[in-house]
């Protein structure tokens, strides 16, 4: 399974989201490959991804995708990330 965390620059915030998504997946005992990408590269990065993780501010920039777009409000809230990933993947 592939999950893509995206932000405007492809470093920094998407990196935070990647790290904490991996921690949340560990809690859920789900094996997935999480990568970080920028908005410009999302079409390629998420072509075969099941889930795109992002901020509410970036949803409009994502464009057409077959992946589930999961919006995270607080990137440091492992409860929020775990619960939303569980819903999306469960």
């Amino acid at each position: 399974m592939k999950i893509v965390a995206i932000c405007g620059a492809g470093v920094g915030t998407s990196g935070i989201l990647k790290v904490n998504a991996e921690r949340a997946l560990g809690r859920l005992d789900i094996d997935a490959d999480v990568t970080a990408s920028d908005v410009a590269g999302v079409a390629v990065a998420a072509a075969d991804a099941q889930v795109i993780l992002t901020s509410p501010e970036l949803v409009a920039h994502i464009g057409k995708t077959n992946a589930d777009v999961v919006v995270i409000n607080n990137y440091f809230d492992l409860e929020e990330i775990t619960q939303k990933l569980d819903t999306a993947l469960g």
Binding site: C7, G8, A9, G10, V11, G12, T13, G15, I16, K18, V19, N20, R23, A36, D38, V39, T54, S55, P56, E57, L58, H61, N73, N74, Y75, F76, D77, L78
Partner: protein, 148 residues
């Protein structure tokens, strides 16, 4: 998983900013002052927000100001700005912002370590309000677990 050092020059306590743009400029000025970036980096941090919105406000009260690696990044660096009066970035959930962390990295590989360390620090939800109230640079460094 370690964060880059945070000298006094990279910290601005209880600063005053009229709006988010001014706050990000303070954050960039601190990075430049500490020798991590040249001045052009600040403009690029602002540009990311102009282009994509306030997504850098990644938790209540906290903005992670950053841009892509570039020639204006001289070395990996971190800056912290706390605001006397919080400013609004326009984020639907996490406004207003009272703490800005500025991040400059030379490559996306290099930044993996800093990012994991940052996540470790901020996964403790008490850290953002504690940073906002930090009286001096030593208190900021203690909260982040970094050296000067």
């Amino acid at each position: 998983m370690t964060l880059p050092p945070l000298p006094d020059s990279a910290i601005d306590i209880a600063a005053t900013a009229a709006d988010w743009r001014a706050a990000v400029e303070l954050c960039g000025a601190a990075l430049t002052r500490s020798g991590a970036t040249s001045a052009g980096y600040t403009g690029r941090m602002v540009q990311v927000i102009d282009e994509f919105g306030a997504y850098i406000v990644i938790a209540p009260g906290l903005a992670l100001a950053h841009a892509r690696p570039g020639p204006d990044v001289l070395r990996e660096g971190l800056s912290v700005v706390t605001l006397a009066e919080p400013v609004v970035f326009g984020h639907p959930h996490n406004d207003p912002v009272s703490v800005l962390v500025g991040l400059a990295v030379k490559s996306s590989d290099e930044h993996v370590h800093s990012i994991a360390a940052l996540a470790n620090v901020f996964n403790d939800e008490t850290v953002i309000p504690a940073l906002a109230a930090a009286p001096d640079a030593d208190a900021v460094r203690a909260l982040l677990g970094v050296t000067a």
